[in-house]
Amino acid sequence: MDNELFMNTEFPPPPEMATHFEPPPSSSSAMMLNWALMDPNPPQDSSFIWEKSTEQQQQQSIFDSALSSLVSSPTPSNSNFSGGGGDGFLIRELIGKLGNIGNNNNNSGEIYGTPMSRSASCYATPMSSPPPPTNTNSQMMMNRTTPLTEFSADPGFAERASRFSCFGSRSFNGRTNTNLPINNGNNIVNNSGKLTRVSSTPALKALVSPEVAPGGEFPRKRKSVPKGKSKENPISTASPSPSFSKTAEKKEEWGGKGSKSSEEKGGKRRREDEDEEEGEGEGNNNTKPPEPPKDYIHVRARRGQATDSHSLAERVRREKIGERMKLLQDLVPGCNKVTGKALMLDEIINYVQSLQRQVEFLSMKLSSVNDTRLDFNVDALVSKDVMIPSSNNRLHEEGLQSKSSSRHHQQQQLNMYNSNNAQLLPNISSNNMMLQSPMNSLEASTLARSFTHLPTLTQFTDSISQYQMFSEEDLQSIVGMGVALNPNNESQHMKIEL
């Protein structure tokens, strides 16, 4: 009731100050009186100024006289209320004095503060009441702040109340200082390990809301946050946003920087969030937007982006796809010029199709060739298993070979071929080398030899593109050798064929 009075008081002077202290004296007094008149409920706590005012309209004249006295002797008791100018000071002085009459301790500049002078319960109540009067604030504030406001309110307000002997200049500063560490603690507790939870924000907002009222302390911030939230009442826009920015920045100061600001900015998963995003984004103008870490557990929303879990997951997925697209771009030739996912994907699809068609074409060609040419000896091919492409494997595999007699030869040949491989011999000479050795060897070794060619060939083609021809010639030689039935005769044939 009384609280409502106070709550109501904050509405009329919205843009200038969130507090009722700052409107021009005459209007403020009139408004105060009006509010007092509007209040239907009889005041319960006699300590309140407004109670007295509501009781009697007769006091109106008293107020006027008091105001005039104040005007005549302005005392800058509170330099913090600079936003509204001297008038604000006057009004605050007035109220302070009036409050002092009944109220010893609690002339806090806050609207909320005054009712809570008496007890902790008093502290609690105004905190719970802010949501209703500040219904212009987003609903989320209400939902979120109510459980936490009481939690954070009590110590904060207690401390605040303790500081207020009058409208002290330190009040607001002190209040913020006390509140924010509390917030810190709350936030830390709430947010330990929950990067994506928004639990910090309710606490933040809880502290924001009471601080909104005396927001005149931070006129600069208010100016910096004119954007506000379209959904919200201008009053509330003025109020939360500066406090957002203020508290956000303050939090940064304390070194909770990395986690807190990012949490404020990003940690949200399920919130009605555009407004919050804006506020947070505004508040964090000075901070760098954190890079969202990409793992399956913790994903932080980026600045200025929607934060529901689906869109977060979507974004992660999009980025994954983009990453892989880049990978594919390197693979597919001619994809560098193409930009845009769709075109690139088309390119990739075309490329895959062309590769598959090439395989088909080559297999056709191979089938036609196969009849005439490719007459590999089964034994030879089997022994080829021994020669796994890398030279190391080859040597290793040789141990597995069944033919023990050929092993020696193979090893010799392998060594020779390895040396051959190492050398950059011209095609002919290497061919000659390869051909000469079979002449001296037995059939098995010859056959084995022919298959050492193959891996050799492929190695050559791998490493040295210019030796492509070399590989083909070797293939010819191999084929020639493979075709031959009689190795001894073949040796001569081989030479001839070459």
Binding site: R317, N370, F376, S390, L454, T458, E472
Partner: protein, 156 residues
């Protein structure tokens, strides 16, 4: 021809491995069909093509890749062979259908890609692209081997 990508591994064995597998499969073909081409040429071509794919799948890592696994499975099914595969976790493909928010442009291209790449039907788009990258590498390797072989044989 190994690619160095720390996050996504698309390493592909050397050409030799491909050549080895392919030639082996060709020889198997030959042994299966000792008489030179009783078949029609088309069948032969098909066989060779299949041999090429199967050998490529084997060379590329057998069961370690989704596409190779699917390819081998498909080939085995054609031959009515029983296929032994190790158990692997089934990714919930329903995840794909649920989300209508996925960019339609990307998704329709991904659909086409799925038709091309073996085993693409059960994959998420991001996984699909990984597999596509590996598949492209292996395909190009196989093409090179075959080209080499054809050239070598045809020149004689």
């Amino acid at each position: 021809m190994a690619s160095a990508d720390k996050l996504i591994n698309t390493d592909v064995p050397e050409k030799d491995v491909f050549a080895l597998h392919f030639l082996r499969s060709l020889s198997n073909l030959r042994t299966q069909n000792p008489l030179n081409s009783p078949d029609k040429s088309i069948d032969r071509v098909r066989k060779i093509k299949k041999a090429a794919y199967v050998s490529m799948a084997r060379a590329a890592g057998g069961n370690s890749r989704l596409w190779s696994r699917a390819l081998l499975r498909r080939a085995a099914k054609d031959d009515n062979k029983s296929v032994r595969f190790s158990r692997r976790k089934r990714k919930i493909s329903s995840k794909r259908r649920r989300s209508n928010q996925r960019a339609p442009v990307v998704e329709e291209a991904a659909e086409r890609l799925r038709n091309l790449v073996p085993g693409g039907g059960g994959m998420e788009t991001s996984k699909l692209m990984e597999e596509t990258a590996h598949y492209i590498k292996c395909l190009s390797m196989q093409v090179k081997v075959m080209q080499c072989l054809v050239d070598g044989l045809s020149q004689k």
